[in-house]
Symmetry: C2
Amino acid sequence: VVSFFTSRTVSWEDGEVRMVDQTKLPGRFVSASLSRPEEVADAIRRMVVRGAPAIGVAAAMGVALAVVRSDAPDMKALAGHVRAASSLMRSTRPTAVNLFWGVERAEAAALRSRSVREARERVSSEVKAMEEEDVAANRLLGKAGARLIDNGDTILTQCNAGALATVGYGTALGVVRAAVEEGKLVKVLVPETRPALQGARLTAFELLSDGIECTLISDTAVGHMLANGRADKVVVGADRITRDRWVFNKIGTYQEAVLADRHSVPFYVAAPVSTFDEKKTHDQVVIEERAAEEVAVVKGRRVAPKGVPVANPAFDATPPELVKGIFTEKGVLYPPFGASG
Amino acid sequence: VVSFFTSRTVSWEDGEVRMVDQTKLPGRFVSASLSRPEEVADAIRRMVVRGAPAIGVAAAMGVALAVVRSDAPDMKALAGHVRAASSLMRSTRPTAVNLFWGVERAEAAALRSRSVREARERVSSEVKAMEEEDVAANRLLGKAGARLIDNGDTILTQCNAGALATVGYGTALGVVRAAVEEGKLVKVLVPETRPALQGARLTAFELLSDGIECTLISDTAVGHMLANGRADKVVVGADRITRDRWVFNKIGTYQEAVLADRHSVPFYVAAPVSTFDEKKTHDQVVIEERAAEEVAVVKGRRVAPKGVPVANPAFDATPPELVKGIFTEKGVLYPPFGASG
């Protein structure tokens, strides 16, 4: 049995990217080793790896693969390879800002080198550092958030903002793990999170594996549970927090925030600083629209009539007035969140 | 291709109960003929037939089967058979009040007879009358509601309050059909309605069959759609409207009402008078808790880890302050809805 207190979802090992194949969970816990940028791009698109912090690091590693595998004779040729890989990575998914941040960091490490050999070394140590930093940031933000969690709390979350959404430890579930490590009894209420079922498949799996008490519900039961006092706090992750401090996260987050507000249940966001986008305001963010089949077909079985039109936005936007605090590795931000927008 | 403007979901035919098997939809549209009360009880429990008005009529027909099939020599013996069948029907599902209303009506028709032969005739004509009345009520409430629907409206619904939830024509979808029959262009936004997926399986199927434009969404996308102006009105059915005018309906309805309220989208309920429970207030209603497997397993495929605890309430309660109007066959009720509680 894996412990998600210590496991790594994505890691850089001897010039290859090793990642847990999340499409196989909860049935099988298996990893894949990827050696080409195209394989990493495909893994991000197919959600073999998902979660904003995890895809940020994975995308950086995709760029790193282009560098360490490149046969470029000089820096000029290498720069071409790097830019092609960066552009490939940026095309995979549009909403999580960490992806663009990760690509930029790996790209910069490569391009500021004076030789191909130096670039290989720099980019390798850069992505390994990003990997370590991600876990360290999650442990810090987890501790910061855990201070607001009381012994006996039931925490409602959304999607998977756990070890599997990051390199390790998790953001929202990092807060839960930190509270557990402090000796607090914490339970988690887990909406299944249609269409991709990350709550049912991943969050429930992580929590069961770690022996943390949880209850799975349909997404339709969130309001009923909050109305009946079945959650004390809400803690979710984020894919992008804009300059005007709107929180973009998995579809379904916004309605949880509205319902938490109605029932005076505090709604918190747990996200590393790499999730903050100081360039864009909320109206400038592209919300990814995914395939109709994600909704119409579940695990290969059709659940809706053929030909029915589907809208499948993967993310939604929660306005800052519904957020009681943002847990980061630099501490807890409270309204107005140092908004620069 | 079936037309849900005219089809019958449940009907009394030559002393048998004929019903569409909704567990097979949208893959196959097939009907079953049931001749024993036990078969009807099982069909209600397994949601072969579902929807408050449909199970009200089906349960009455279950009692009627006990009467027409009884070998009782006298009224005293018959009364025993009737009471056993009524009690069996009442034990199937606890939340929809129509079920109790339907059983009571069939029981009363049988028990006020002076001979077994008279009871057989009375109960047969009673359930046939209930069948006709249901369609007539839906056409009337549909017309009443359609007056509030504008040409070009997109209507958000929940679950299936359509022809398949009633004997025919539907309640919430009856309003849509009446608007279409008046020549209005109406679109429907359909949440899939986990766990049992009545939106995806049944509502989308009805609307596609009838050529009414619709878009399927995950339940997680309701808030996002309302926040982005993607629905003009909400119309849902009801399983029970209590004396204090709380609306019990499929899980997920309450959160739609809260979100509609936040975005100033009017929230309407379409329900026949048989859905009103003048005896109970909202705190006295039992909300059915269904099996964990409904959430953890979709179409035979496991989507959550084995052993994960599940909460699976089948209904929720919407307070009257979130409801802008109730469409009934007697007209539209506006707040305070003639509340007697």
